[in-house]
């Protein structure tokens, strides 16, 4: 099955890096959408269904924490697994994002295989295969 993913990060080079890692990971990526903050991500999600959202936390306008909160309050968007990709690796932050509904957490810097494994695990959790 080809995956449709949304990458949310205010850095265009980081979005390009994540996109490249996904494309080289062996996962079948059918569509790779991008947004530069949470607000833009919500607009993209109004018109596009995706299988997973990969989001940074520290972004202008609307950060990843607020994006996750809005998605978890939405009847449909709450079904989409969210994987957090952030430089913040403090235990308190990781726990907060997982409590808000994130299905996985990857800290930058990350090895390409780590991102793939965590994305696959997040999808498996949602699909009930784990």
């Amino acid at each position: 099955m080809e995956l449709r993913v949304l990458i949310v990060d205010d850095s265009s080079v980081m979005r390009a890096f994540i996109r490249r890692v996904l494309e080289l990971s062996g996962l079948e990526i059918g569509l790779c959408l991008e947004a530069s903050n949470g607000e833009e991500a919500l607009r993209v999600l109004e018109n596009n269904w995706v299988d997973a959202v990969l989001t940074d936390i520290n972004m202008p306008t609307m950060d990843g924490e607020e994006l996750l909160r809005r998605m978890s309050e939405h009847a449909v968007l709450r079904l989409i697994p969210v994987l957090v990709v952030s430089t913040d690796r403090t235990e308190g932050r990781v726990q907060k994002m997982l409590t808000l509904g994130a299905k996985g957490y990857v800290t930058k810097p990350f090895a390409p295989e780590t991102l793939r494994e965590e994305l696959e695990r997040s999808l498996a959790v949602v699909n009930g295969t784990e």
């Binding site: 850095s11 080079v13 490249r20 520290n58 952030s86 235990e91 308190g92 930058k108 810097p109 090895a111």
Partner: protein, 177 residues
């Protein structure tokens, strides 16, 4: 926190970021400023340009221009982190990050990669030094050349020879109030 402990954490953080995200290895590193003449990209060449007023002034050439990104963090401790590289090295590192050729990396992309490096290095070094603490980290910003290289408060410096040039990291840690 001992200065030596910070240096070790800083070295490990930079090596981790460069190896996993830019597929670049550190050839050598050390405390303080890089030894004179080290690193192919660490040149100070300049060219003379005639200004509109007719006078001649010396400006750095493109290879000698540096790119510096800085961010600040609040927590225990608070402080700042600054990453500086020659623009030529920024393109090399940017090419590794983006999986493209050096010539395909624009100045703005190279600068944005340096900002991301600063972000990741700062996050990595803080977690190594204070893993239990939660920090609020600002967005990395490019530092105009006229701002100078240092922080106001006492800072820790370390250089990294990447073969194509020297990357320097300055970490400022403010004492807890």
């Amino acid at each position: 926190m001992e200065p030596n402990e910070i240096q070790v954490g800083l070295a490990a953080a930079v090596e981790e970021v460069l190896e996993t995200m830019c597929f670049t290895s550190v050839l050598a590193s050390g405390e303080g400023a890089a030894p004179a003449g080290m690193g192919a990209g660490h040149r100070t060449a300049s060219v003379s340009e005639r200004t509109s007023a007719g006078s001649e002034e010396t400006v750095p050439d493109a290879a000698a221009r540096s790119c510096t990104a800085e961010l600040h963090f609040e927590g225990n401790p608070s402080g700042g982190c600054r990453v500086s590289v020659p623009l030529k090295l920024a393109r090399v590192v940017g090419a590794g990050f983006l999986g493209s050729e050096e010539m395909e990396v624009s100045d703005s992309q190279a600068e944005e990669v340096v900002c991301e490096l600063a972000n990741m290095i700062c996050g990595s070094v803080l977690s190594r030094l204070e893993s239990e603490e939660t920090f609020r980290i600002t967005h990395p910003q490019l530092v105009p050349p006229e701002r100078g290289a240092g922080f106001e408060n006492a800072a820790i410096n370390r250089w990294f020879d990447l073969g194509d040039g020297i990357l320097t990291v300055t970490l400022e840690l403010q004492p807890a109030i």
